[in-house]
């Protein structure tokens, strides 16, 4: 509780917090805390940004904030009053006070804890792409502004209402095209190279075991290594998978005939 009291009293609050970029991962919570006095304004901002079609982020909220600073100060004062009462009243038992400000995701299409599909109609059919985009935007907003869970307004949206073909059309097909393209380019080039070096034609190459292995490696490589970082990630993944096992086996490692101290 003392931490939140310290954060609510402006004179002691380090000013850099207001200008810190929320894109740094481990600071995402801090900007949220510094924006709390203006949460009332953030809710309207979120809906305005949704209308503009850009993803709402704390950064844009910060820009609008200086204009409305005058309006927030009475709110801040109210909170200071609350927190000082708390500080005086506590003597071992700290009361949890309900703050007046709420952080909530507001959007005209977000109704009752889920997306209202009737508002996503395009040509008489539901525009699933827009639903996926809206949900992605909501989750990104929540990353920086975690919501309070509430029994009266539970969230009921989960991704299973989006049909499988919408996912495939949107994500699988473009990626599949990319990967197939890469595989085809590699395949053509390697087939030409092997032919020019050994004189073995494409059909005869397919009958050779070594060539089939090369083909397998090429396909697996194209599937697994899609970005430059994937090489490192794969190595790390391999290490991680065996790490826990190594920790369990560690106690059996120093089994040497004369080493046991009796």
């Amino acid at each position: 509780m003392s931490i939140s009291l310290a954060l609510f009293s402006p004179p002691t609050q380090p000013l850099p917090l207001f200008s810190s970029s929320p894109s740094k991962p481990h600071l995402t919570v801090k900007p949220h805390l510094s924006l709390r006095p203006s949460k009332f304004l953030t809710t309207t901002k979120a809906s305005a940004e949704n209308g503009a079609g850009t993803s709402p982020s704390a950064a844009t909220a910060l820009e609008i904030q200086p204009d409305q600073k005058v309006a927030e100060t009475p709110r801040q004062v109210v909170q200071k009053g609350e927190s000082s009462v708390g500080a005086n009243g506590s003597a071992g038992a700290v009361e949890i006070e309900e703050d007046n400000v709420l952080s909530q995701f507001m959007d005209p299409k977000w109704v009752g804890g889920t997306w209202d599909l009737s508002q996503f109609q395009k040509d008489g059919k539901t525009d699933w792409d827009a639903v996926i985009d809206a949900e992605a935007r909501r989750r990104k907003w929540l990353e920086g502004n975690p919501e309070t869970s509430s029994n009266d307004a539970p969230i009921v949206f989960d991704t299973s209402i989006i049909p499988w073909w919408a996912w495939i059309k949107r994500f699988h097909l473009p990626e599949a095209e990319l990967l197939n393209g890469r595989a085809a380019m590699i395949g053509f080039f390697m087939a030409y190279l092997v032919d020019s070096l050994t004189g073995v034609g494409l059909v005869d190459q397919m009958g050779n075991f070594f060539c089939k292995t090369l083909l397998f490696i090429a396909v697996v490589g194209v599937l697994l290594i899609r970005k430059n970082e994937d090489l490192e990630n794969l190595k790390k993944l391999l290490d991680e998978t065996t790490f826990y096992d190594k920790q369990w086996q560690a106690t059996w490692q120093d089994e040497k005939p004369g080493s046991s101290k009796n």
């Binding site: 481990h26 009361e95 949890i96 992605a136 975690p146 490692q253 101290k261 009796n262």
Partner: protein, 450 residues
Amino acid sequence: MATASSTLAVFFPTKTKTTITRPHSHSHSHPLTIKASSNSTNPPLQGRKLRAAVIGGGPAGSSAAEALASGGIETFLFERNPPTTAKPCGGAIPLCMLEEFNIPSHLIDRHVTRMRIFSPSNLSVDFGKTLRPNEFIAMLRREALDSFLRSRAESLGAKLVSGLVTNLQLPESSTSPYVVHYTSDNFRHSLPVDVVVGADGANSRVARSIHAGTYACAIAFQERIKLPDHKMEYYNDLAEMYVGNDVSPDFYAWVFPKCDHVAVGTGTVCAKQNIKLFQKGIRERVKHKISGGKVIKVEAHPIPEHPRPIRVRGRVALVGDAAGYVTKCSGEGIYFAAKSGRMCGEAIVKASEGGDRMVNEDDLKREYLRVWDRKYVTTFRFLDLLQRVFYGSNAAREALVELCDDEYVQRMTFESYLYKKLADGDRLQDVKMVWNTIGSLIKCNMVGSK
């Protein structure tokens, strides 16, 4: 496991040298049956029973002391805290522990039959639809459980010593004793013993004395909050779990009901310096449900993340938290502590043939470590996999909560948790579950990374 079977083969030839091996029967509850095959190469003790010291009187230590004392070994159980000290702990134990350790029902404060898990976007799933009427998660106070187990060990013959063990002196030869130096009533004492069981928790002094190595620890931080009655009603038999980067980067936050208050807490391994921030995060997430409550206690405790590099050295064995037997993903440790304590005690009884012979390191490794590893390493490995897959990012956590909506998943989870046995499921449903897992992970990663 190939190494396990090959070393077992080494030991079998010695067994065939004996003429008669009396057929022995296994019983999984008290009292112990002692297997009477005298094929040990250890020297018999002249005129006295084997003497064992169990350092630490929690679930692990008390179970070890109980097994040792009922096996006929002279046991000393060391505990530094008075019986009323509350150990910071979740306090949840599975059903199988109630049966295996004969825990009386008056110790149980609450029967939790519903669990709710909240994703980072507050999508909530109710666990517990598949529980049968007699199945529940027992919540109890650690001080009540610990003192019960300790007094039971005492009643079976273990000598309880209230004191702080300061040092464990290692022996010079294979027959000289370990000397336990401890302070009791402001006086220094020392006690020579043959075998030591280290059950003194995450900051084990015994482990340090035998240079067992260190392990990575998570920190669990919780506040006990007394709620007004109408808010407490909501948590009558419900426990809540929250996942998300705001409450923990690599673990979960919880609201567990206790006897007359709730424990709201969180834990983390990699970001320990931000624990207060995460605590604020969980308080934010449950704001409405705990508003008007009073914080009556704040506590924190380290939780080991993996086993220590050395768990048995010489005639010293580590059990429970000292050995690092805490599962990942759920952070469960009480049952494994008690079970490992009992297993270690039984191993010593068996290897010493009821306290008549000395034991050595190989006996401890063979009878305790190997049996333990064979029984539980798969469980621990599986939970480690779950933690790595599902606790890594917000997208993965959303996928986890989505998956939990499935009845089959819930049934499997609860059965494995309550009975510590791999629940036998339907192959077809298993395949469907794996398919859904992959699908959910892909979908949530796509939605989360845009």
